[in-house]
């Protein structure tokens, strides 16, 4: 719970606030710790309607995400076309994915044609939730795609994969656009579609797919590669140049060289830490018995060898998958 919730005092009965049209207090209630009260506050502000709009627009600047979400929901419920402009402005500033999604849906509710251009632009956004929200919102605004390009982007945003597949090579550039989606499931689907369509233009996306971090995407890309015009001999080269997701071999080597045992611990060996503790104890005792630096002179050739050992172990681990 945010600290401000402990300091904020809310009136006992939220329902009385509707009778007195106390918009500022209702807006404060949208950040109430109890979700039920937050919903009641949004519904009450929606019922108040147009008189609450200016205050709700101001609430879009609140540092509290629940207050902003409530304001967006209330504005969507009021459906005042005048709120489209501030919502479009807020779209550029909002950082929370869920709230961005809410703004896009709310723009669809305002019924203002002013909202259409930015929504069309969002059809190619990198985030699938925003693409879908834009498509739903445009539909709500009664938008009809003006050309084949927009129609395809709309279908991709709605994840209407069958229609995209039927569109054939025309869909390839738009599929390539979203082939870097943060969700591996979408990336995998896009690459498979590129393979099914079988146009050579999908070659670049497919090559990138073979080098993907996710094993599922890599496999989908390998299966699609032949249809995208990638010769089998090139595939292992791309696969080998992928970003490795396992432990960093250099990190494992350095750790084991400087602090014997921690490198093993880093690559997942449970006994790495006991080795480290034993090593440190021996070093400290040797330092007490001799001098501060002599024990290191003896230890480093040994730990250098073991550092190399960890380096190769880690390399083997990161090669898997």
């Amino acid at each position: 719970m945010p600290l401000s919730d402990l300091l904020t005092r809310y009136p006992a009965d939220i329902r009385n606030l509707y009778a007195v049209r106390d918009v500022p207090t209702l807006i404060r209630f949208m950040g109430h710790p109890d979700p039920k009260n937050r919903t009641i506050a949004v519904d009450t502000l929606t019922d108040i309607g147009a008189p609450a709009v200016p205050a709700l627009i101001s609430a879009l600047r609140s540092p509290r995400s629940y207050v902003r979400l409530g304001a967006i929901e209330a504005l969507a419920g009021i459906r005042d076309p005048a709120s489209a402009g501030p919502l479009i402005t807020h779209l550029q500033k909002e950082k929370h994915s869920e709230l961005l999604c809410a703004v896009i849906f709310a723009l669809g509710e305002t019924g203002s044609p002013e909202a259409i251009p930015c929504q069309v632009h969002l059809l190619s956004d990198n985030a699938k939730y925003l693409r879908l929200a834009a498509a739903v919102s445009l539909e709500r605004l009664g938008w009809e795609p003006e050309n084949e390009r927009d129609r395809l982007r709309y279908r991709i945003a709605r994840c209407d994969w069958d229609a995209v597949r039927k569109a054939g090579p025309a869909a390839v550039p738009w599929l390539c656009d979203i082939s870097q989606d943060p969700d591996p499931a979408i990336r995998s689907r896009v690459i498979s579609l590129l393979g099914e369509i079988g146009a050579g233009e999908g070659c670049r996306a497919c090559e990138a797919g073979i080098r993907d971090r996710d094993p599922g995407v890599r496999w989908a890309s390998v299966l699609a590669a032949m249809n995208c015009g990638i010769t089998p001999a090139r595939m292992p080269l791309f696969l080998a140049s992928r970003e490795r997701t396992g432990p960093n071999p250099a990190a494992a080597g350095i750790l084991n060289f400087l602090f014997l045992g921690l490198g093993y611990n880093y690559i997942g060996k449970w006994w790495g830490f006991p080795v480290f503790m034993a090593y440190m104890s021996v070093i400290v005792l040797a330092q007490l018995a001799t001098s501060p630096f002599l024990p290191y002179l003896v230890a480093y050739p040994v730990t250098a060898f073991l550092g190399l050992h960890t380096y190769y172990l880690a390399r083997r681990i990161s090669d898997q998958g």
């Binding site: 979400l69 809410a102 432990p247």
Partner: protein, 321 residues
């Protein structure tokens, strides 16, 4: 585990025990570590038929899971109606493996007496138990009479096409599957609800938007569109998802008190190295310059490291929904 397994290391002669009708010895081998021995003992007991049923039921009082599983398997193979009550009780056991095995065994008992018990198990919280119940019911020639039974039966058989074809009758079953521990099953349930497109599924889908699994959330989002869930409710549902973000305060405090561990908390492999370097440096500065000077030198550095860890955590991008 049977003591012979541990100390003698030789395979027991199940054939000889069967010829000697040594039921207690055979029952003791049902708890063997070796599945082959367990199966051989169960088959030998099954060949003995009804005379073995009584001792097997009596032996069920043990608390050892492996032994109980072996006994249930043997009872199932004997197929004696006398075992019905004992197996009925086991379908309510705490262990899902016992319930699973009991449902399989009930399917091996002829006569249809097990059907009411299996119908109850068809609604079990564990998918293995549900599947075994459906398979056993199928074996018993059971034909569901009501739509609700048909839906549970199809869900147990993992027959998603038939479940979807049941339309509205399948909604309560699919809604309950949205809380299954298996994320893959929750995903399929959400997809099926979308294919049915019933508005009754709305509340459950809104709840599923806060699921811990990313794909379940996405399937619920897509299904919500088909089930006519008001789009403005979706962002609030998504807001309920579990956040895996690191706490900037924890990172800052850790790095201030134990420099390096704050970085370790953020997943930086070199955090532990900084920690160890700090310990070594502190000891040496302490030795040569004394306590007050040590803190004087290191304290400002610790503040910088604490603030740095806090800052980089704060700037970390939030995981997309």
């Amino acid at each position: 585990m049977v003591p012979q397994d541990l100390f003698l290391g030789r395979t027991p002669d199940i054939t000889m025990l069967e010829e000697e009708c040594d039921i207690p010895a055979l029952i003791s081998h049902l708890a063997s570590r070796e599945p082959d021995i367990q199966v051989a003992a169960a088959e030998a007991l099954a060949r003995m038929g009804s005379p073995a049923t009584g001792p097997l039921i009596a032996a069920l009082r043990t608390r050892k899971r492996a032994r109980r599983l072996g006994i249930i398997a043997a009872l199932g193979q004997i197929g004696d109606v006398q075992a019905l009550d004992a197996l009925d009780g086991l379908t309510k056991d705490q262990s899902s493996e016992i319930r699973w095995q009991a449902c399989i065994a009930l399917g091996q008992i002829e006569g249809g007496g097990a059907v009411p018990v299996l119908l109850f198990s068809l609604r079990d919280r564990d998918k293995y138990v549900r599947y075994a119940s459906a398979v056993s019911l199928n074996k018993a020639g059971y034909v569901p009479e009501t739509d609700d039974d048909r839906a549970w039966f199809s869900a147990g058989m993992q027959d998603w096409e038939r479940l979807t074809a049941l339309r509205n009758a399948a909604v309560p079953v699919l809604t309950s599957l949205l809380s299954d521990p298996d994320a893959d099953l929750r995903r399929k349930a959400a997809r099926a609800l979308g294919a049915i497109g019933s508005s009754d599924a709305g509340p459950a889908l809104l709840h599923a938007l806060g699921d811990e699994d990313r794909q379940v959330r996405w399937e619920a989002m897509l299904a919500s569109q088909m089930c006519e869930v008001p789009s403005m409710l979706l962002p609030r549902g998504l807001c309920r998802r579990p956040r895996l973000r690191k706490n900037p305060l924890v990172a800052g405090i850790l790095n201030f008190l134990l420099p390096g561990l704050g970085y370790g908390y953020l997943g930086k492999w070199w955090g532990i190295m900084i920690f160890q370097i700090d310990i070594t440096t502190t000891v040496w500065i302490f030795k040569y310059y004394g306590e007050a000077n040590t803190y004087g030198i290191l304290f400002p550095l610790y503040i910088i490291l604490g603030v740095h860890a806090w800052y980089i955590t704060k700037k970390m991008p939030e995981e997309p929904p």
